[in-house]
């Protein structure tokens, strides 16, 4: 049986598809008995889903800023 700490670590890794199969098995087994880790895993997965949703379709603020600075340079020349 793995500890909650380890379970959390595996949960994080699997959010980035970096957990091995064996780790995932251990993690699943742990969440059978541990309601807290189960809830945490649910929240963690939801967080990933939310970020993916935005990431897929929106510009991040740093990307927007880089577009903006390139554009403003041209705009200054223009006016």
């Amino acid at each position: 049986m793995i500890s909650c700490e380890e379970s959390g670590h595996i949960c994080d890794k699997s959010q980035y598809h970096e957990a091995t199969l064996w780790e995932k098995v251990k993690f699943k087994f742990h969440t059978l008995f541990c309601a807290m880790c189960k809830q945490h895993s649910k929240n963690n997965t939801k967080l990933t889903a939310l970020i993916d949703k935005v990431k897929a379709k929106n510009l991040t603020s740093s990307e927007k800023n880089s577009i903006k600075s390139a554009f403003n340079k041209e705009l200054d020349k223009h006016q």
């Binding site: 994080d12 929240n43 963690n44 939801k46 967080l47 897929a56 379709k57 510009l59 577009i67």
Partner: protein, 184 residues
């Protein structure tokens, strides 16, 4: 038909998300989509005098973007493209963007609500991210949003991978807490 005005000062704030959204579904690569959007704004600026005000600014920008996307595919496909019949509507820069306005429709935007929700969510994530400690936020962003490899981040910031995972874990817990109220 109402006469639309053109004002490039607000373009980025108003349309960059929309145009990016439009592009990313067509080229499926963030960096390229970003470049195309950026080029579109610059091209729009250049050919501003051709804007007749018959369509809205956004429609007009989308029409430029459409052509940028087509050009992009032509370029990466140039060998195949040699065998194709090329059509060039406007070869000189003088009239760039001239014909497009009449040809592109601005269809009823059934994703408008999605777009608003998406923007709100993006803002929420941004504001939560800004509440994290700087280092956490930076690492979280590199890992989650920019999709850097664990190894790359570790090398760049000179931390060990277990270090990184602890930071990621803390960041994720705080982010989940922060978004809990409205988004879970």
């Amino acid at each position: 038909m109402p006469n639309h005005k053109i004002d490039p000062n607000k373009w980025i704030d108003l349309y960059s998300d929309y145009l990016f959204n439009y592009t990313i579904t067509r080229v499926n690569d963030r960096v390229i989509a970003q470049d195309l959007v950026s080029e579109t704004f610059l091209a729009g600026l250049k050919s501003m005098k051709n804007f007749k005000g018959e369509a809205s600014e956004r429609t007009w920008l989308v029409s430029i973007l459409k052509r940028k996307v087509i050009d992009y595919y032509r370029k990466i496909n140039s060998n195949k493209g040699k065998a194709e019949v090329r059509m060039s509507y406007n070869s000189d820069n003088e009239t760039e963007g001239d014909w497009l306005e009449e040809r592109v429709a601005d269809p009823f935007d059934k994703t408008a609500e999605d777009q608003i929700e998406n923007t709100e969510l993006a803002d929420a994530i941004d504001s939560c991210l800004s509440k994290l400690p700087k280092k956490q936020a930076k690492i979280f962003e590199m890992k989650t949003i920019l999709n850097y490899e664990t190894e790359t981040i570790c090398n760049e910031l000179e931390i060990t991978s277990s270090n990184l995972w602890v930071i990621i874990h803390r960041a994720r817990v705080s982010m989940a807490d922060c978004l809990q109220n409205n988004w879970f």
